[in-house]
């Protein structure tokens, strides 16, 4: 018996009436993230009916349709607001948001910071491919400085967002980063994120060869995975590195673990309190 849930099990979570292979390009890491998400849900033993996958727009938004959960493909950047509504309406459900970097950090940035501040019990999965893939390779807020894109043909001037620091600052309960190369680590992180009450955010670094790699000197999808293998380093080891050696390295692992209870729990606890005296024969 293998240690992990293999593709035979993954196949049981895919929609059999949907056309496969999925629409994403060859070598796109999004499929790996989806597989990892399925594995983590599987290892937690959560029934399909209790999982709601809320996706935004873009390549990451297209993932939801392939999995046999309750799936909702929302508007661009607004996935977290839909998810907030669902979680508040039915706190029993496990709500997982699939968003891209443009989705979560640019158009949906406001929803992201407020979901983190509110600490709503939703797991946000940010699939960061450093680019707007589906619309043809325009710069996103996660595009690294100096990179070439369709909208920055002479090189990106502005700095990119650090998703982890953003979520930490906004008060998220759990913040972690993983890559699609380090799949087992990513799965572990996702399991923790789904288990933890309150708002948890996982940034998954996933390469986009078609729109980002080709314009930035990566000859094949494989090159991009080699780049992840080379640059990613556990956060523990990263912290031990001297300042001058940190440049260009990508720390992965768990960054924030807090224990605030989720907003929905707080709300319903307040409601139970409010309803108590009324039972004594108020109105």
């Amino acid at each position: 018996m293998s240690k992990f849930a293999g593709n035979e099990i993954i196949h049981q979570y895919l929609r059999h009436n949907k056309k496969f292979p999925h629409v994403l390009c060859a070598g796109c890491g999004h499929g790996i993230v989806l597989g990892t998400l399925i594995r983590s849900i599987h290892s937690l033993g959560i029934p399909k009916d209790d999982v709601v996958v809320v996706a935004g727009i873009g390549c990451s938004g297209r993932l939801a349709v392939y999995v046999d959960f309750n799936t909702i493909h929302t508007t661009h950047g607004r996935a977290l607001s839909f998810a907030t509504g669902i979680k508040m309406a039915n706190p029993r459900l496990n709500v997982i948001c699939l968003m891209g970097d443009g989705d979560a950090l640019s158009i949906g940035g406001n929803h992201l910071i407020h979901a983190a501040r509110r600490n709503i019990g939703v797991t946000a999965l940010v699939l960061n491919n450093n680019i707007y893939g589906m619309t043809g390779g325009q710069s996103s807020p996660a595009t690294p400085e100096g990179a070439t894109t369709m909208t920055n043909p002479y090189g990106q001037l502005d700095k990119s967002f650090d998703t982890v620091e953003l979520a930490r600052g906004a008060g998220a309960n759990f913040v972690a980063r993983g890559t699609v190369f380090h799949v087992n680590r990513l799965e572990k992180i996702m399991v923790q994120a789904i288990e933890r009450p309150g708002f948890s955010l996982v940034e998954a670094i996933t390469p986009c060869h078609t729109q980002f790699g080709r314009k930035n000197k990566y000859k094949s999808p494989v090159d991009m995975y080699n780049w992840l293998k080379k640059t990613a380093i556990t956060v523990e080891r990263y912290n031990e590195l001297p300042e001058n050696k940190r440049e260009g390295r990508l720390p992965i692992g768990v960054f924030v673990e807090r224990d605030r209870i989720g907003f929905e729990e707080q709300y319903y606890a307040m409601q139970r309190q409010l309803l108590k005296p009324a039972a004594k024969g108020g109105k």
């Binding site: 018996m1 293998s2 240690k3 992990f4 849930a5 293999g6 593709n7 035979e8 993954i10 196949h11 049981q12 979570y13 496969f20 292979p21 994403l24 060859a26 070598g27 796109c28 890491g29 999004h30 499929g31 790996i32 597989g35 599987h42 290892s43 937690l44 033993g45 959560i46 029934p47 399909k48 009916d49 209790d50 046999d68 979680k87 706190p91 029993r92 459900l93 496990n94 019990g121 797991t123 699609v180 190369f181 799949v183 087992n184 789904i194 288990e195 009450p197 309150g198 094949s220 999808p221 494989v222 995975y225 080699n226 209870i261 989720g262 929905e264 729990e265 709300y267 319903y268 606890a269």
Partner: protein, 97 residues
Amino acid sequence: MARKSKGNNSVTIYPDWCKGCGICVEFCPQKVLGLNDQGKATVVREANCIRCGFCELHCPDFAIVVKNKEEPVEVEMENGTPKPKAKAKPKAKGKGA
């Protein structure tokens, strides 16, 4: 777990799902896989497979299945959801109401 059980394993590739990205070929530690003339992954040296699972975990298209010939995985279903094998601890998040 006898993970390094060479010769015991079968590798299946779904050619119609494979998009030929080459990740499995590049990173297979035992060089079990190769690309065929259609640019799709194909099994070249199945006997060398140690069932490390890299290709299966990293296939973006879920197109590879690695099996132990002696102990095939049986997917048990419960209300349409596959039952987890390991110590299951079903735990929903935030039991608010």
